[in-house]
Symmetry: C2
Subunit: 228 residues, 2 copies
């Protein structure tokens, strides 16, 4: 019996979430803030990648919302380099949702056109199920995770607008099968570009920043999105 109740409640939560997500996105579009939902597993390098992309932005000011279950380690690292950062702690919750982001942006001041990186909880599953007001979903993977991730966590790969493959400097020490990875990925997502990154060599960050600024300059996608 609890399953039926659970489904009812979850549907109601999803409807309400999508409504607030659309509102958040419209608000950010209005301010000329391009918002990016940054997803990836724990330890995949989300904050470090954001920092490196920020260094390559040419036209837009960076803003960050840091989502963490606990701790503000990442927010402090970003503030230390002068990036306006708002910390959300979920204290147990496994993903960000639109109400949390709505509350965060209400407390942020957007004084220039920019890019808002919303770093989701480290989790390759639940965050994919909730829109949070993003204009684009950026999925960060890593060669250290192995090449079977698209087969096992399909929703995140299916929804991604940009896929970053991090830590490629470690490839010589691993058995990462790139063609198997790409085959699984392309079965789910034909369009998202895949950019290889290395925080050690700097590879890929300029390309990622260029993709973001090009996309941000295009007219924002509007209208009703398909249900997740």
């Amino acid at each position: 019996m609890h399953d039926v109740r659970k489904i009812d409640v979850m549907e109601s939560i999803h409807d309400e979430n999508d409504h607030i997500a659309a509102h958040v996105r419209d608000y950010l579009t209005e301010k000329d803030i391009f918002s990016i939902n940054v997803m990836g597993a724990p330890g995949i390098g989300k904050t470090t990648v954001i920092k490196h992309i920020i260094a390559e932005l040419r036209e837009r000011k960076p803003y960050v919302i840091e989502g963490d279950i606990e701790s503000d380690i990442d927010a402090r690292a970003l503030r230390a380099i002068g990036v306006k950062t708002f910390q959300i702690n979920t204290f147990g919750a496994c993903h960000l949702d639109a109400p949390l982001v709505h509350n965060a942006i209400g407390n942020m001041e957007f004084d220039e056109k920019g890019v808002l990186f919303i770093e989701n909880i480290g989790n390759l599953v639940c965050p994919a199920e909730f829109r949070i007001g993003e204009h684009a979903l950026m999925l960060i993977c890593s060669v250290t995770e192995g090449s079977d991730k698209p087969y096992k966590y399909p929703l995140a790969f299916e929804r991604a607008d940009l896929i970053l493959l991090n830590k490629v400097d470690l490839t010589p020490h691993l058995d990462f099968d790139e063609s198997f990875f790409m085959k699984g990925l392309r079965a789910l997502n034909k369009e998202a570009p895949v950019i290889k990154l290395s925080c050690k060599t700097g590879e890929g960050f300029a390309a990622a920043a260029a993709w973001i600024e090009t996309r941000a300059a295009a007219p924002a996608k509007r209208g009703t999105e398909p249900p997740l």
Copy 2:
């Protein structure tokens, strides 16, 4: 308003889950099957670690329940080496729960005293919130994840009975701060042994198997566990 309803439903689900988890554990204790909830982030090496530990078991027969959102890649890999494996696909759900495991063990034949590895969904958050009938929780981490994981995902570290630090052969290529990792870990969990593993060199698997068989031979813990 949906939050209140959500909390009510979640409490009801947790109560029912814990009741079924206790039932599953008692059933396995009765059969002399020591059950292990295997947790870890995506791509941390859960299946590979299980395979290597199985090779070091001396006294008990291995059984595996494979939890995956989709795909049976891991179950096929285990069956290929002759391990009795039951596949659970959750099709979206981010963690195993006790009813899913209850259904699985009802379809498995336990013909010898053994160790049942229950590989949870790759997720460092949600699986920590649900008992699934385990005698022990084995958490797999990796040096590739970085050293701040105990600070960011505390519940998993707090609950773990055994912590495996995988991929240590990659340490020379990383900036893993072991003392920061251990400090965070020990603030949450004073007792769980931490064993370093490398699938490349074979380091640590005999020690992990020995811990499991020693613990399995001790009288099973019984009685009411504290609420999660």
